[in-house]
């Protein structure tokens, strides 16, 4: 499963935050990110740069899934797809462009995809 290996974010006030300094991306103020550099374990996108238009919001999260076989009860493969999302209008969070780093291929979409 691909994962985000490392990241660094530069904020609009010049402050730089990186993975070593904060526990989680949840601590990064998404409305003040000016630029992000993301290193992933996905062979198709080992390095990714995101330059954010002022006023946009960028979010990075992992879309996870846990499947349960209803017959055997067996918990199946834990799906884990890193997602980089840019939302151009903070007032319209339902409008976004996402890059899904799915292990079977990279998906660029404006839809909310589940796997």
């Amino acid at each position: 499963m691909p994962a985000i290996v490392d990241w660094v974010a530069r904020l609009t006030d010049g402050k730089v935050m990186n993975r070593r300094e904060v526990k989680s991306l949840a601590e990064v103020p998404t409305d003040r990110i000016e630029m992000m550099k993301i290193q992933t374990s996905h062979p198709g996108v080992p390095n990714l740069g995101v330059k954010v238009i002022p006023g946009s919001i960028v979010r990075v999260f992992t879309r996870r899934s846990l499947k349960m076989n209803a017959r055997s009860g067996q918990q199946l493969d834990d799906g884990s797809v890193p997602v980089i999302e840019v939302c151009p209008d903070p007032g319209k969070p339902e409008v976004f462009v996402r890059l899904y780093l799915h292990p079977d291929g990279i998906l660029l979409s404006n839809e909310d995809l589940n796997f």
Partner: protein, 174 residues
Amino acid sequence: MAATVDIYEYNGAGPTGTAKGGLTVRYKHADNATVDTANPLVKPSSGNFDRSYIKSLRLRCTTAAGAQASNVKAYTDGTSGFGTGITLYAKATSTSTYTQATADATGTGEGSTWMDFFGYTSGSSLSLGAGPYTLADATPFANYLETYMKLADTVTAPQNPTSSETFTFGWDEV
């Protein structure tokens, strides 16, 4: 480091959780997580239905590593393989409104508050809470997925699920 999450079944007034990894969710006429043939559902007489007790499933974080979850949901592949006459109803229930199942599901609200679980798919899922939920070790999060099984008189007895069905829980994690 991603959080480690498991699916738990909750029973009793407490309620008490049981990890379901490798264990069937057995729909029956009793409130327990025991995988046995006691208190089975029975093919109803003509024109009647047999409903199970409500099963309450919930995600539980084993190790969190400071993670946060949001947009928690549940869905199926959209096609029931349980066979003719078997319906699985589902709804989300908040932790504050959880009550122990002490009798069969009544059937009230079928098609309104209780919906066919196989109507929820990856493109139209059942929300179990928007969050965000700050995850903690050995702590459940988000709402319960409540389900019950309904047998119609058209079911073929004895009935065992002949198809392997997969339920999916999804969430966004940072």
